[in-house]
Assembly symmetry: C2
Homo-oligomer: 252 residues x 2
Amino acid sequence: MAKAKVGKRAPRYLQVCNDLVAMIRNGDVAVGDMLPTELELCDRFEISRHTAREALRRVEDMGLVERKRGSGTRVTAREAPVVYNQYVANMDELMQYGQATRLAICSAARDPVPAHLASALGCKPGQSVPHLVGLRSYRDQDSALPICVTEIWVPNASRAQEKDLLDLDQSERALYRVLDFSRLSRVRQTLSADNLGRAAADLLAADPDSAALVINRRYHDLDDRLILMAISTHPKERFRYSTELSAHGKSG
Amino acid sequence: MAKAKVGKRAPRYLQVCNDLVAMIRNGDVAVGDMLPTELELCDRFEISRHTAREALRRVEDMGLVERKRGSGTRVTAREAPVVYNQYVANMDELMQYGQATRLAICSAARDPVPAHLASALGCKPGQSVPHLVGLRSYRDQDSALPICVTEIWVPNASRAQEKDLLDLDQSERALYRVLDFSRLSRVRQTLSADNLGRAAADLLAADPDSAALVINRRYHDLDDRLILMAISTHPKERFRYSTELSAHGKSG
DNA sequence: CCGTAGAATATGTCCGGACAAATAACTATG
DNA sequence: CATAGTTATTTGTCCGGACATATTCTACGG
């Protein structure tokens, strides 16, 4: 981050920034403590407030401190985390199914939630919740084998949403509306493997003993409430999940 | 992003920032074109250079422009990409095995690469490459079943690295040195499912027909050269891969 | 025609000052 | 003692100016 060119000294605000980062890493100011105020830094380093602010801004950008008007600058972390980022531009890319595929809902009803999903859904076991089952396949290829079977639970649907979801003619569009991209804030997903089993094998025209990639996705809104949980079961060789993580910094 | 409180006007620099963003989105300035210079913005909006810079800084932070001293501000994108980030603090967290597990190498040799891996490894089929096989299990629990079997190929090892890797007493430490965290820049991984098969089932003490989660990880250095490829095969129920994606912005 | 030196241009760094707004600490009041 | 209002503190916004440094353009000379 700080270039070490010989005979070319770093800008003053970077020097101050580095000193502050060092103070934090050395534990001179503990996590939770306040950093010196801007005016104190001006005094101590003999700099203008502008330069002090530039230094603090860098420290803030590193994620080490939190600044609040009227209050001050509080240390929130001792080390800047080495962060690997996965960039996902949109929902389709996240799901990795692309525009060429399509989810055909084949059943939609209010069903009691199974015991093993109750806690994840934030429901009591046996509680009834809108529940869809569909098959994802490639568009324009009705003959091809489906990619996966997807089971969808919508625990916090509104009355209107539920009505649309349970109407097979509208449920696909309704799904997209429920999963409003702009309100989405977090997606948690868990990938595991399992043998297909009889029921899924029938739907997918595959061997029941065959291995399957199971992806459990939970979509949360800005208040971290669960909007929707989708469990997709992909028979082996019909789907692979790829990610690319880039080290901290700009990515391509 | 821009708060819309009534009777509480936004700061001037934010207004200017929004105007600039709008200009870019409307196509008034195309991607590749130059944005007005700081001094031009001072004139046009009747603001100080400080305010102009603050506005431009915001636009830059959105990833819409690129600024270069002596040159100017060039538009690099028409829309701020809706980005979902996965934050991974360190290598162990990326691998999700944690400190409690350990990889025990059980074989290390120079082996010819299988045909189906040749292109991914950037080698000719049949070319010999350092090749390790190990079992990952929980520390302090020799009795417990291993989590996975891992197959590792190191196509671009130096002479010295290769020597250490192929020495079973040193290969574990050597692996960590080869996978130098600081030189790592990209990790590509692909998750898929497969049935275990005879060989892996024997090593893992599992049913050969049982499903397995297969994770193929490719580690690349700053020049995007492949450092190492690791293929881990996890019998079902011994491992799950979880990620949490957060929408653009600070994450917790 | 090409390359170089210098001029013009644009962003980066840094100083000074002033007021606004949010927070926290304090004080007066019931 | 609890609460409301006041004050002091601290960061946010915004202005002015000056010089540094990187880039680009231009004119000159070979």
